[in-house]
Amino acid sequence: MSTKPRSEMSLGEKMQSVPKPILYLVLVLLTSLPLFKELNVPNKPNEASEDFYATVMAVPEGSTILIQSDWTGSTRGESGGEFESLMRILMRRKIKFAVYAAGDPQAPQVVKDSISRVNDERKLSGQPGYKQWDDWISLGNLPNAEAANQAIANNVQTAFPGRKAIPSTGGSPQDVFDSPVLKGHTKLSDFPLLVVVTASNTATIAIERYAGKVKMAQMVTGVMGPETLNYYPKQVVGLVVGLKGVYDIETLMEGGINTADPHTIKDDNGKFQGKSVEGFPGELNKGKATRYYPTLHFAFALLIIAVLIGNIGMFLAKKEAGK
């Protein structure tokens, strides 16, 4: 990098040495401004997100699924949106769930606060809230993912010994496995689905311990996406990756899935079979992703432009030096 004063620099050199404060200021402006106005960005949900949505929508109403939630505030932009969209779908479809953490001691509290927010949202729109004990159960945190997942794979009930909760009608704490949520559930295969919402490598640990024992879908951060994509669609039947993945889910919640499936065999008219899953049109489907996606858009655009400016600057500087 040139150490000359800026006034003596050539255009190429100037383009390669935009001061950091200017870069940072542009980034702050570009990522903050879209938050003040709702922008509808066109979106085509990817197959992994569609499969995730279809998998959750195929869970029978009234049944109980297991959720492993290993995220905290640091990735709430992605994981928070993922978890809240999952909650909205489950609550609308009256699917019960038991949630535990195996990656971070803060996670169970973060989950409770998140459920509370979605419950408040439902209350505002006149829908009944989801009650702890009747509709969902927190199984807390197990501090060692490998051993915890191994124990859960062996027997869900003995993996959480002594977990108690107060019934929704009050009274003394009772074993969570006597609750309407978990009664009769002892093995992983008793659950129609396990969803892992994580910001860390507990995604792969869960695959190592659970694959083949339960149908599994995952919601991971953009950073964990490439790693987890290796296991889709075999071990992980549906996968939501990062903010784009949540935006996909929010799009699907509004419009459902109604597309031709290119993986099917064409019918007599030369058409692929259709993939059709209903959505929740008109309900509150837009969440964090709809608010944050334009920001991601602008951040990517800035990153691409910055790299292009730097490279054009390099070529100009080389050209000027060769004169």
Partner: protein, 304 residues
């Protein structure tokens, strides 16, 4: 006396709550634990390494056996009896999994206590001696104490058999619940998010200054990165898709060149195999390191 949870069915690892058999086992476990710590503390330094080695080997051997030993299929716990010694060991291993998981959970949980002890020791000393920036240590320690107080207060308020269900609704919260919410959700989680978001500045600055197409490899990398980034931008994806395949018919050959398909090809045909290769290498490395640790072949440190 029901201090302990009954976990049916009874196995080698549990007994009915309050039973004499359970009490005897608890007393024995306590005595063995105290004796083990005493022996470890009193053992000459050159004997400590073999003791740690044996414990490490036994701990590792459990999971190795669990993986390699034949598993009893469709076992009905508490009813089925093993038909031969091989099945007997399989049953024993099966029953021991949650117990060993609890062992590891407890040992891991000790790290939390160790962390708190370490923080108190380091920052307490800094405050007492009024070393440089001791004020920050005061902020850290007082934040920790306040968070512990609010956290336990909130937890305790939710143990009330009558009031607890009502506390699911925010309007029924008391001051301690609001204090916990402000400290945990209002401050800690927001600061966590703010810290993490700083990465965006580093990424932008580093990419701008370092990402130059000086070689063919760098050019390929940049092109792939641009395509994948563009594929995350809905408006670019839609515009590109409309340009190469205006009809949107998935039967058209041009559909292969939409941003979605090109990015999918990069992910499926280049990224996935590369990551699998890396994972395979990492796996072999982890296996080699695991074997060294398990068999105590690592000879660095620990010598008197």
């Amino acid at each position: 006396m029901n201090f302990f949870l009954d976990i049916p069915p009874a196995t080698f690892w549990n007994n009915p709550s309050g039973s004499n058999a359970l009490m005897i086992r608890l007393a024995l476990a306590l005595l063995i634990g105290i004796a083990a710590i005493f022996v470890l503390l009193k053992a000459p330094t050159n004997y400590r390494r073999p003791i740690v080695g044996v414990v490490t080997f036994l701990s590792g051997a459990f999971y190795v056996m669990l993986y390699l030993w034949p598993v009893a299929i469709s076992r009905n716990k508490g009813i089925d009896a093993p038909r031969n010694p091989v099945e007997g060991v399989a049953f024993w291993l099966d029953d021991a999994v949650p117990v060993v998981a609890n062992f590891t959970s407890i040992v891991t949980a000790f790290l939390l206590g160790l962390g708190v002890y370490s923080l108190l020791r380091v920052h307490g000393r800094k405050v007492m001696r009024k070393e440089t920036d001791w004020v920050f240590s005061v902020v850290l320690l007082s934040s920790m104490v306040l968070m512990v107080f609010a956290g336990y207060g909130d937890w305790y308020s939710r143990l009330d058999p009558i009031k607890a269900p009502a506390l699911e609704l925010r309007e029924n919260w008391g001051p301690i619940n609001y204090l916990r919410d402000v400290l945990f959700e209002g401050m800690l989680q927001q600061m966590d998010a703010a810290m993490f978001s700083l990465i965006a500045f580093y990424i932008l600055s580093a990419a701008y200054r370092a990402f130059r197409v000086r070689t063919i490899e760098a050019t390929i990398l940049l092109a792939a990165a641009f395509i994948v980034m563009f594929s995350f931008m809905g408006s670019v994806e839609a515009a590109w898709g409309h340009m190469v395949n205006p009809s949107g018919n998935i039967d058209n050959f041009s559909n292969n060149f939409t941003l979605t398909e090109v990015a999918k090809w990069i992910r499926g045909s280049i990224q996935k195999p590369a990551i699998r290769g890396i994972d395979f290498g990492v796996g072999i490395g982890a296996l080699a390191m695991g074997l060294r640790l398990w068999l105590s072949l690592d000879r660095t440190g620990g010598k008197s």
